[in-house]
Structures are given as C-alpha cells and as structure tokens.
C-alpha cells in the first residue's frame, strides 16, 4: 500500500488536482503489478502454446499465475479459466452452463436476482429471447439482498442455474452467498456468483463460499483492465462459447494474454495479502462519509445495507436531484464519483437497481456512489464532505 502514492492519480488533463472517489468503477494499476507484467511484453514475449523455450517461458508464467490464483481461491489450478474481463467470465459461466445443462438434462430455468450487473442480466435476456431459456428474476429486499428463502421458494426441478452476485456494484450490498449455496447444493442446482466487486475486499475462498462458478475482474483490485478469470468447479458442465485453439482447457480459445494474466495473479496476491490493511484503511473513512452525508444533507438516504456492505462503498439517494448533474458539479469541483443513473449523453434514467430496491423516480434519479481505495486520505474525505452539501443544494436549485 505504501508504494502507491496519491501523486499517481492525476487525470490526463492538466486540471487542478482531482480527488478520485470511484474505485468501484476502476482502480489504478499497482506499480508492483506493472513491474510483474513488464517482462512479458518484451523479453518473455512467447506464445504459451509454442514448443520452443520462448513458449515454455510464457507457459510457465501462466501456470504460475494460475497456481497463485488457485491457492487464493482454494481450488485446483485447472479450475481457473483466464478471460478478458469480468463480463466475459459471466458470459462464459452462464451461457456455457446453460447450453451444457440443457443438453444434459433439459433444464431450462435460470434464476437470477433483479439487482445483478448488466453482464448477467443482459446475458440472461439474450438467452431468453434467442435461445428459449426461461428466466425467473428473484426479488431483493429494500437493502438489495437476495435471501436464501427467496431462492429456495423459487427453485424447481427444472432449474438449471442460480446466479446471485457476491456484492452489488451500485449499492455495495453483500449477499449471503454461503447460505444461498447451501440451498442450491441441497437441490443439486448449479450456482454462479459475480464476484467482480467483492474480490477487492471480501474473502474469495470458493470452498467456504460453496460456489460452483465465480467471476473475477482484475481492474477492480489494482490490476489491469482487460483480464478476468472464472472459477469453475471440477465436474461443472460447461460449453465453450469462444471456440478455436485448445487454450484454457478448451473452454476459452485465443492466445493467452500473458502479461495481463501475470498482472491478474499479482494483483490478486497483493489484495489477498493486504486485505485486512486495506479494509482497516477504507472502512472508517467510508463510515465517516455515510454518517456525515446523512446528517448534513436533507432528503438524503443510504442505498443498500448499512452493515452488510463493501467496506469501501458508500451510496446514497438524494431526492429531487439530477444525479448526472451532481456528478458534473462534483467533477468541476475536483471530485470524481459515480451514480446509478450515470450516463454521458444527458439522458438519465434511474438504474434498474434503484427501481428494484423500490426507490421512486424522484429519489432514484438522484443517486451517488462514493467508493474509496488505498490512496484515499482523511483529507480527501474531509474536502469531499465539505463540498458535497453545497453541490447537492446547487443541483436541487437547478432542477
């Protein structure tokens, strides 16, 4: 953590210093990760599939990366598939298992929560529209949680897959994955979780979680964009949807992106090693944000669960605020945040998650997400908390 300094966080434009509070969108790559990746762009540039020593060196790097990841996930290396991103992992898991199970057992029902990331929801809608699968959307409570009870009520013998995210990107809520997987296991139903947001802070031991498939993406935990992984429990029926060479156990064709895979593993290793430190760093700052915002800003509320939420994640709804405009005002004032209705085209709509947790439009359009990271300082948080109430008021006046 000490090797990362705030000075690394200058946006590309020569603007006055910015404070970055959008770590759930993405994180800067840890310099130690960049160092680990560097040799595989030049000296060790080989194709891991090649017979010669260039190929051997590259293959060794991938094998080592896979072993590192496997040891952290508490699984065996051949249960780790490297992909290009978290979304691809979600696609491979859901499509791959859906096709395989339909072929094997004829099961056509897929259950997923209404608050999933679009990588899951859009994929399911696609399967429903073009492939004839049947989707059942699981309700979430007002904090955005899927309960084991909801899952157990919804499953039937024709259920092929249940997919519930580990932690929500917009509202930070953590789902009781262990309890849900117990229900699935009793009923012999495959369970997938999107852990893209969770992996930065929560334990990712697949045995204790009890998941059959789990999606990860490196750039949420100080790794590079453009690389992800999917854990697939041995024996899980899965059909490849990127066909070609036999890479990644014939589940994901295409020459492996060696430096990025190395970067993924190093970033996950550091995250695992420094998890407690990172949590200890962000959580009090996050709590300060939640407490102060709710106190200082009228007509504000926390979205998501107060305790069962990612430790770096604060999310709010402000009534009668254009969330997009608030982001603009924040950016102009030097703070980079995010919103559930964020869009760059001035065409805001409340996100599906806001609707799902029952927020009306006047609240749902005014969402704000503040996510912290290793570079966030107490001074950053103080400056942000000092600026926000006025900006919310400005946004309200302009409405």
């Amino acid at each position: 953590m000490n090797t990362l300094q705030s000075s690394h966080l200058q946006p590309c434009y020569n603007l006055p210093a910015m404070i970055y509070l959008d770590y759930s969108a993405t994180t800067p790559v840890d310099p130690r990760v960049i160092d680990a990746m560097a040799p595989y762009f030049s000296n060790s540039f080989g194709n891991p599939s090649s017979v010669h020593r260039y190929g051997q060196a590259a293959e060794a790097a991938i094998d080592a990366a896979r072993e590192t990841v496997a040891s952290i996930l508490n699984c065996s290396p051949d249960e780790v598939i490297f992909t290009s991103c978290g979304s691809e992992s979600d696609n491979l898991a859901i499509r791959g298992a859906a096709y395989a199970l339909r072929e094997k057992t004829g099961a056509k029902w897929i259950l997923a929560s209404r608050a999933e990331h679009p990588a899951v929801t859009r994929t399911l809608e696609h399967l429903e529209k073009y492939e004839g699968f049947l989707i059942e959307w699981l309700d979430v409570d007002e904090q955005g949680r899927v309960t084991p009870g909801i899952v157990s009520k919804a499953i039937c013998e024709n259920t092929a897959i249940v997919s519930v995210m580990y932690a929500n990107n917009e509202i930070g809520t953590i789902n009781p994955i262990k309890e849900i997987t117990e229900v699935c296991r009793e009923n012999h139903i495959l369970f997938h979780t999107d852990a893209v947001q969770a992996a930065a802070y929560l334990p990712v031991d697949v045995q204790s979680l009890g998941v059959d498939m789990m999606s990860l993406g490196a750039h949420k935990f100080y790794g590079p964009k453009g690389v992800g992984a999917l854990y697939v429990r041995k024996g899980t029926p899965l059909i490849s949807h990127l066909t070609g060479g036999g890479q990644e156990f014939s589940l994901r064709a295409g020459t492996q992106n060696v430096p990025y895979i190395v970067g993924f593993a190093e970033a996950l290793r550091l995250t695992n090693e420094e998890r407690d430190q990172r949590v200890t760093h962000v959580k009090p700052l996050r709590d300060q944000i939640i407490g102060t915002v709710l106190e200082a800003i009228p007509d504000s509320r926390l979205t998501g669960h107060l305790e069962e939420r990612l430790p770096h994640h604060a999310s709010f709804a402000f009534r009668d605020v254009d969330g997009n405009l608030l982001l603009t005002l924040l950016d102009a004032a030097g703070f980079a945040c995010s919103s559930g209705s964020a869009c760059k085209t001035g065409n805001p709509e409340p996100s599906e998650v806001m609707n799902t947790i029952g927020l009306s439009r006047d609240w749902g359009l005014g969402s704000l997400r503040v996510t912290l990271g290793v570079h966030t300082t107490p001074a950053d948080v103080d400056a942000f908390l000092k600026a926000l109430p006025d900006l919310v008021q400005k946004a309200r006046r302009l409405k």
Binding site: C12, Y13, N14, L15, D322, N324, L325, T328, L329, D331, A332, A333, K344, T345, G346, N347, P348, K394, R397, L398
Partner: protein, 353 residues
Amino acid sequence: MKKVVVAMSGGVDSSVAAALLKEQGYDVIGMMLRLWSEPGKEESNRCCTPDSMAQARRVAAKLEIPFYVIDAKDVFRETVVQYFLDGYARGETPNPCLVCNRQIRWTFLLDHALALGADFMATGHYVRIQQAENGRMNLLRAVDRAKDQAYVLHVLNQEKLKHALFPVGHYPKPEIRAIAERYGLPTATRKDSQDLCFLAGEDYRNFLQRNAAELLQPGEILTRDGQPVGEHGGLAKYTIGQRKGLGVASAVPLYVLGKNALTNSLIVGTQEELGLLELVAREVNWLSGETPKEPFRAEVKIRYTAREAEAWVTPIDGNQAQVRFDAPQRDITAGQAAVFFQSDVVIGGGIIL
C-alpha cells in the same frame, strides 16, 4: 484564471470558440445540452445527435478540456416546443430558436455554467460584444456579415451580456476554418438549414400532424374583403407570402396575406397587397435595459434571412414598438422577430404582432 463554459455542438464554430478561449488563457469547460426529441427520433435531432455528441467529446479531448452533457429535455419541451405549438395555435409562424436562446441557452445553460463556478459562457455564434464608454455592453453584428447571427441573439440583456463571450464573431468564416485546421479540429459546418432541431429533418407540418393535429383543421380561404375562394388544410400549413400550394383558381397569382385564428380562415390577395409599411412588435427587448424615449432611425430585420430595411422605430406602451418602414415590406410575418440595428449595434427587437 477565469473560467468559461463553452456550449459545444461538435461543429467547427463552437470547437474553434473553445480553442480560441483556451489560447487566450481561460480555464475552459465544454458543455452540451441534451434537448428534447420526439420519442424514437432522438437520432435525428439536429442539435444533439449521438454523432455530434461524440464529435464534441472528441474535440474536448483534443483540446484537453472537460466535457459534460446536461439534460435539458423537459425544460426544452415545456418552453421551446410548447412555444412553437402555441404560436401556430395563435395563427402565427413562431420562431422557437429565439426562445431557445433566451430560455435554454442563456438561462438554463448559463445557470448551470455559473453553478459550475464559471465566470463566462461562450457559444460559437457569429456576433461580437463591445463595452461602451458608459460601461454598457453592446451586442454587435459579426465581422463576417454573411455569417452574422445577431438576429437570434437580440433576446440577451445586460446581465447575460456581462457573462457572454463570442470569440468567433471577430473573424471571417474562412479564418475560423483555418484555425480549426491548425488545431486539427473538425472543419465541417453543420448544414446551415433553417430546420428546427426537434423536427428531425422533416417538414414541420409532419411534426404538427403528429403532435398537434387539432391545429390542422380545414377552413375557408378568403380574400381581404371576405370573399370565399377555396378551402385550406389547416392554417399552420401556410406561411405569409406563400404562393404555391393554395389550390385556388384565380386570374392573377394569389399570395397568403394573413391568418385569422379565430375564424380559422386564411386571407389571400395579390402581390401588391403583400407589401406593408408598418408593423408592431410585442415583448420588445431593449439590450441597453432602457426603453428609448424618442422615435429613432434603425435598420430593421424582419426574418433571420431578410435584408435590413430603413425605418422609424417608435417605442409604445405595453412593451411594444411600432416600426414604420421607408418603403413597403413584403412578408411581414406574425410570430417572427423584428430586430432593430444602428449600424453594427443591436438596439432591440420584439415579436411581430
């Protein structure tokens, strides 16, 4: 460093405006408004297609300035589009661009710019601002008379002019193009059509048909002395001075002279009857902020594309002005603006009654 928000469209003029202001040492922020479109026609809105938005974004990246899109759909629908429909309902030919400039660009967007901490707002309009000796801000026509857009900006006032910058009005268009090339900015000019952005490139009659079909009730065509000569398909479909498409058999060519919204009748007459010596404008805006006490000589422009005509302008009660031309003017159209100039300076203007 003074901060300025530039209203960007992705076109050459606003892009160069941003580049010039950056060169002049301002802290520049790019902004674009998301305006209202008919549902399903968002791709064709002339002012904010996804294309022009992407283009403006690229320009901002090139100039290394931040860029934001502000949602103005509801306020645009409620003010500009409503004004457009109300104007036709009154039998006028409304000019919604004037309302857009006054209410959307120079109120709604300006408020946003000021909220962002900006000192100024700039657009790519071809006009100039000059401070007079008494401290007053004067709005001047552009150096390039062929591109001059002072007509649509006569709605500004002293308060807004204090915050306004119009950097491109000081250059002839070819020079603006050259500056764009020098900066590697897009040099294409949006087709200088008079189409309204929300008409999606279609004829306004189609828009009315879809959104206000009640304005297209057939009625009588009358001569000025009340003689019925035919039937029209809805007053809103016609403009003053129009000759084609009347469908009236007549020995001499007939032109639209006027509309009577109360009786839903279209008044036609001969070419000689078209010329008028006088008009009255309402809701007159005096840019100085003070109503002139005496009648004054001015060049008056009665449409965006019309040539200026010499006239006497007399301020009258009720925020109106009477304009008496030296020579009869054709096609004086209710709903359009009459704008008064003295040489390069915009004195004021109002909506023709």
